[in-house]
Amino acid sequence: MFIPCDRGGGSAAPDFKGFTLLMPAVSVGNVGQLAIDLVISTLNMTKVGYFYTDCLVPMVGNNPYATAEENSTELSINAEVYSLPSKKLVVLQIRSPFIKNKYRPFCETLLSWVKSSNCARLILLSSSHAYQRDDEQLLGTPLRYLLTPDLEITVGGRMQELNWKEMEKVAAYPGISDTDKVLHIPGGGITKLLFTESCSKGIQMAVLLKFCSEGDNIPDAFVLVNYLNEWLQLIKSDVSTVGSEWKIPSSWRLLFGNGLPPALF
């Protein structure tokens, strides 16, 4: 599944032992993917390989993080891996939707790669439909987290310190009391599947998600990436500055269409 980039010199596959793997779920508003774009762009991460998979719709374009003429012509495809060894961080970016019936095969292959590459933990950035919140969820923070039992042991305490809110379980049959409570993440794409599979496979995995709706999801991406930063401290977060230190990639241009024809006015 993972194909390392040929960086010349016949170098072996990169070593991710002990690294944190950060990846998005293709979910409502594409918030996870936008947040990952901010991480890769700001930290100027190096591409180290890609996933050769039949689970995602194919796409290709030129380098979405281009900053100048010189670096704008490297091809970029639907599932690529970037790394920053100084922070022991490896990031997978997914750029297209899943093909029908391919959620499960992708999750299985991904988790077996996580195990074989000895990543210490997996963090998934995701989102869920804001309109499906219940009365309590409508108040307070729209951010939630989830931890697999294996990761709860090591970072559960940190979540308490940060005063984060765990994703609530909902009744399996709404309206009927005394039913089992289940995890329900509408609009979350592979989030729930990946989380439940990680729990059963003993993988240290966390989900960070935001309730949102479709629209201009750039602010949602900033909120989510700042949430992540509270924990991982990827960049220095200066409380006094109103603006963010995250760098918007050049590929975010024209998200809402082209310029208007002058003849319209």
Binding site: V57, G61, L75, P97, N101, G187, G189, L193, L260
Partner: protein
Amino acid sequence: MATFFGEVVVAPSRAGLDEEEEAREETPEDREIRREIEKKREIDVLWTWKSGGCGEELLVCSRFIVAIGRNAAAFLSSFILDSVCWEVVGVVKLWNEWCRTSSTTNVLPTDSFCLFYRLIADPTVLLCQCSCYVAEDQQFQWLEKVFGSMQKKGLQVTILSTCPVADYKTQESTLTLASPFLKALKTKEFQDQVCCPLLEQPNIVRDLPAA
């Protein structure tokens, strides 16, 4: 989501289809149905040069030109292909909701087809005309089956396809853009001169040409 008129509609998510169905466990009946559909959607690549049709021999190919979509296929028909210099060496048989191709190599321009031609003067030059739509779940299969039959050393692949001008993202309006126009994407291994500007961010290519 509530609209201005007070009706509640389900807004489609850019993230794709609802995942609840995916997360559900499959019953044996579901599995059987899914397998049957997968079998129906399997694509067959039939090469006429393979003796007995099932040899493991690979086609030695130095240049492979693939025209995807009706416009690109028509371009090849009008300017490149003829029955004197080119011979048919393969055909793809597939079915999906949009089209069906057959294993016949005698096609009309209005048919949906996917044919492979070889230059008689230089049999390592291969050409593919794919005017049929290859669905998302078939694209990977097409790729593996077609390229799996080739010896890929020193292979140069050129993909020709078209996109609507309205899909092109640019600062100005596409109304004032001089169309049609050419744009290219190339791998870093491609060293030759490209005949047109490269595709600027944030434009992308998807489906079979991307695959």
